[in-house]
């Protein structure tokens, strides 16, 4: 099975900023991403948990996208511009996919 090297970007971001983030992803032409919910966490801002929350103000989501390695810098630059004002963190790792032409 032919595997193609990609970058896996994972952005942990506070939920209210999600719409902004997806707009940025669209702008830098990352058209594929998946959002996973987080249910609790801890950071410099202290612990949080979704239990019983009515507002999304404190909860985080995790946005995952597989992109072409060559595009890493042009993608994480604008994301970082958003994330640095908000609560959130970006990580990048290596991954391989099938059907590499789709990314």
């Amino acid at each position: 099975m032919q595997l193609h090297r990609k970058k896996r970007i994972e952005i942990i971001l506070e939920a209210p900023g999600l719409r902004r983030l997806t707009e940025i992803l669209e702008r830098v032409q990352v058209t594929g991403y998946t959002v996973l919910p987080a249910i609790a966490g801890n950071g410099r801002g202290g612990p949080w948990s979704e239990a019983g929350q009515v507002t999304d103000a404190e909860r985080m989501v995790c946005v995952m996208c597989l992109i072409d390695p060559a595009r890493t810098d042009e993608v994480i630059g604008p994301i970082f511009e958003l994330v640095k004002r908000h609560i959130g963190l970006i990580s990048v790792s290596d991954a391989e996919v099938i059907r590499g032409e789709r990314f």
Binding site: E14, P16, G17, R19, R20, G45, G46, P47, S49, E50, A51, G52, Q53, V54, T55, D56, A57, E58, R85, H86, I87
Partner: protein, 338 residues
């Protein structure tokens, strides 16, 4: 004559206020809030699933909106409507400036943190409103249906005020103001409150009847469930409060609702609202937002510390209003409009 009456049974009324406060304290709604707080402080793992809490919040706002709309359909539009809506909007916009000034004077909160907190106190709390309606129900009092519209109108201006305040102290962030305003104005809680109000108005008492078993009969029971959840969340916030909140800030959380109430009460009297309507108007002014404004602040002022405004609004001011504020506002409103 009113003067005489007040003095005539001054003692009787003092008793009356204590009575009101005790009845309030022993109502299931308040008891379930206390249960939630106690469970959280005892570090119990009791919790309401997030989806259920959000579902009940949605239900409560639909029920409130419908009730207000049906009342307007029943009572018709009175002449004070527009004045009351205007007064609400002005209050919501003005209170944050006052709150900001107080906060900066008494505490060491940064300008951005103080602006974010101030926004919460200008806006309104739908849950406090829900409990106030329950208290009115218990007291057998009616209210002007359009108070729900007033509530909806008061959600947003406070956010604008906070943005104006904060702009003075921080560089522009290049965020589109228009988009932010759109997000604030079409916040889910605003839309469902206003929308249900119009649904209730259009459908009227006849249209309301078949859905009353859900939206009227279950209202108070649902409020119990919701307040259990609020108690749990508030109680868990207390642990963090020690770190996030200084003594003057906590004090602000107790005193600010009284200040807002003191401003709103004479306005309610001037507007000629009924006792029930006046009580709701004072409650709206005195309550601090917990749903719409926090979400808006994460977008508009992300530098502000969420732990401060969430804990203050839910952990200090909400219980204060629940236990002490509401009976007080009711007795004031009864005197004003009696």
């Amino acid at each position: 004559m009113r003067y005489d009456a007040v003095h005539g049974n001054g003692e009787g009324e003092a008793v009356n206020l204590v009575d009101l406060a005790v009845t309030n304290l022993l109502s299931p709604v308040v008891l379930f809030f206390a249960l939630g707080v106690a469970a959280a402080l005892a570090r119990s793992d009791l919790s309401v699933p997030e989806a259920v809490a959000k579902g009940i919040a949605l239900y409560l706002m639909m029920a409130i909106g419908l009730k207000g709309g049906v009342e307007v359909a029943r009572q018709g539009l009175t002449s004070t409507l527009i004045l009351t809506v205007l007064a609400g909007a002005v209050l919501s916009f003005a209170i944050p400036f006052l709150a900001y000034a107080i906060l900066r004077f008494v505490s060491r909160l940064s300008a951005v943190d103080a602006a974010a907190v101030a926004a919460h106190y200008g806006s309104i709390s739908a849950v406090t409103l829900a409990v106030a309606i329950e208290v009115l129900g218990r007291a057998g009092l009616n209210f002007e249906g359009y108070m729900i519209a007033v509530a909806a109108v008061m959600e947003t201006p406070a956010i604008l005020a906070a943005l104006l305040i904060a702009r003075r102290s921080r560089p522009d962030d290049g965020l589109s103001r228009g988009e932010l305003l759109h997000e604030v104005a079409f916040n889910g809680s605003v839309v469902v409150l206003v929308g249900s109000f119009f649904v209730g108005w259009i459908a009227g008492p006849a249209g309301m009847k078949p859905i009353a078993p859900l939206f009227t009969d279950l209202f108070r029971g649902m409020l119990c469930l919701f307040l259990l959840d609020m108690g749990l969340v508030a109680g868990r916030g207390f642990a963090r409060a020690k770190k996030a909140l200084s003594a003057p800030v906590i004090l602000f959380g107790f005193v600010m609702p009284l200040i807002s109430a003191a401003i709103a009460a004479p306005i309610a009297a001037m507007l000629g609202l009924s006792p029930g309507g006046a009580m709701l108007f004072i409650t709206l002014a005195a309550s601090a937002s917990y749903i719409a404004v926090p979400a808006a602040m994460r977008l508009a002022l992300p530098e502000a510390d969420a732990a401060i405004y969430l804990t203050l609004s839910l952990g200090v001011t909400f219980p204060f209003n629940l236990i002490i504020g509401l009976p007080l506002y009711l007795s004031v409103a009864q005197k004003l409009a009696g």
